[in-house]
Amino acid sequence: MLLKLLLRNAFRHKLRNTLTVCGMCIAILAFGMLRTVISAWYAGVAASSTSRLITRNAISLVFPLPISYRDKIRAVEGVKTVSYGSWFGGIYIEEKNFFANFAVEPKTYLELYPEFIIPVEQQETFLRDRKACAVGAKLAKRFGWEIGDNITLKGTIYPGNWEFVLRAIYAGRDQTTDQSQFFFHWDYLNESLKKSAPSRADKVGFYIIGLTNPDLAARTAVAVDRMFKNSFAETLTETEKAFQMGFVSMSEAIITAIKLVSLVIIVIIMAVVANTMVMSVRERMGEYAVFKTLGFGPWYLTAMILGESLVITCLGGAIGILLTFPLARAFGQAVGDWFPVFNVARETIVMDAAAALSVGIIAAVFPAWRAIRVRIAEGLRRIG
């Protein structure tokens, strides 16, 4: 009966409460989207492995390392596999079609990234053909590429038009795998450079090290860097996770701003819902006085007001959460180039729900307190 009562009360003032529910829904939707953007930002980190190390030039990522380091690194204790590559920075037709593209040593690269799943026959042709490239399923879908297609990238760091044949399309092992990479044979790049720009040949942007045991990461990283100390190209070796973090932390300020905005949204909707509740309760002060007259105690009043507030926020919140999924999908498709992984995380849903609940509770506190405090004789007088 009490439940019936608070449900009916919640929809008593139809327009006002519908608007509040809408506001709540939009707030939760916005909150969820911002949170999803943040988790997309961190997705690269989440997916990156601690059992892989990245070695780069100690000065900056833009300076290369000699290819001769490969054999030296391979000799370090704890190192199982060494792959290497360079950021290619090619453009497909026009600049807005951005995606990550690398020249890598293909065999070891695939060994190091078991989360890239490629059918066996595609893998074989990809490794055999020097002009072959491999792309993630998401990227292939984006441009409608199929196996056997010729793809031309315009070089930015390495001038000229570079032609590739699509030989492999990889799928991700799970949702967090980046499925929008483009990679091809480093040899193909290097041999062209030997002819056109010999000074730039035999250089790599980074080494990727697979470890025999992830526990050895710290020790191995130190050992690698010590080896090249005082050489003409000193190295900086860190786990892939730390490497990705470095990228993410560059944008830390933006993330903080987004977090702040998402919080502000919740505070605003809290004020809106509280306002609705204050208005409703004020209008019904006489009714609450009647309840008190009949002997209903403070707990009943609190339950009624809190319940009504929660009905509003939870309804709005639930609709907001449901709408987050299609919106995130649409948004993910629109900005897929920048966020290779754009999924609504479970934590986001939990936070949405927590936000809806706390808004409901906090918005009810003040009106409930008022209703409890008002003296019966006074409350009844208001009706007259």
Partner: protein, 238 residues
């Protein structure tokens, strides 16, 4: 016949004042009064004389400054706020001038409301509510919402709500104050029946001599003290 019955409400030297702008304004001064079981008492007096205040004190809705109110053997001036709420739930039935039904509840649910606080099962509650609604001749309207009922019908639902718990006393503050003559007549007849046939103790504040005429006895309050009613009022009432 009144004298033979047991005393149900005993008021001893009751005083109450309100604080207004720093100074205290006396509203009730040293009121003493006894009401017997089954009595139907009308409380009259000019506006602002303290009738509602006295009624609220008898019904345990407000706290007195001094003096005591003993209802059915319990001195309610010694009870805490929570105890008082529980006591009201079990012992007092309320009828207000503006009916004060809950608009989102049907007639049935409004009458059921005070029973929620009892230990009755759903089935027993239903039986009680139906009996009460039959008593006020509104059993056929139990699924109507207050806005679908006339003022008189609403007041009858309120009466059903007041009697459904079988309280020790019924208090009514100008129950006919907002009704037209016909509806008022019906409501008064109903209250008379509650008093005569069912032996309910009723304390009713009213301005209306016609209402007072239905009661068995009348007390007149003037400027916070019990007084003799002016001749004119008496003449109208009896």
């Amino acid at each position: 016949m009144v004298d033979a019955a047991e005393v149900i409400v005993e008021i001893r030297e009751l005083s109450k004042s309100y604080r207004r702008g720093g100074q205290s304004v006396p509203v009730l001064e040293n009121i003493s009064l006894t009401i017997h079981e089954g009595e139907f008492l009308a409380l009259m007096g000019p506006s602002g004389s303290g009738k509602s205040t006295l009624l609220n004190l008898i019904a345990g809705l407000d706290q007195a400054d001094s003096g005591s109110v003993i209802v059915g053997g319990v001195d309610i001036t010694t009870l805490s706020e929570t105890e008082l709420a529980d006591w009201r739930a079990g012992h007092v039935g309320f009828i207000f001038q503006f009916y004060n039904l809950i608009p989102v509840l049907t007639a049935f649910e409004n009458v059921e409301l005070p029973l929620i606080l009892t230990s009755l099962s759903k089935k027993e509650r239903r039986r009680h509510v139906e009996t009460a609604l039959q008593l006020v001749k509104l059993a056929d309207r139990m699924d109507h919402y207050p806005r679908q009922l006339s003022g008189g019908q609403q007041q009858r639902v309120a009466i059903a709500r007041a009697v459904v718990t079988d309280p020790t006393i019924l208090v009514a503050d100008e129950p006919t104050g907002d009704l037209d003559r016909g509806s008022a007549e019906e409501v008064l007849k109903l209250m008379e029946r509650l008093s005569e046939n069912l032996g309910k103790t009723i304390i009713m504040v009213t301005h209306d001599p016609r209402a007072a005429r239905r009661a068995q006895s009348m007390k007149y309050l003037d400027k916070g003290v019990l007084a003799n009613a002016p001749e004119a009022t008496l003449a109208e009432c009896f």
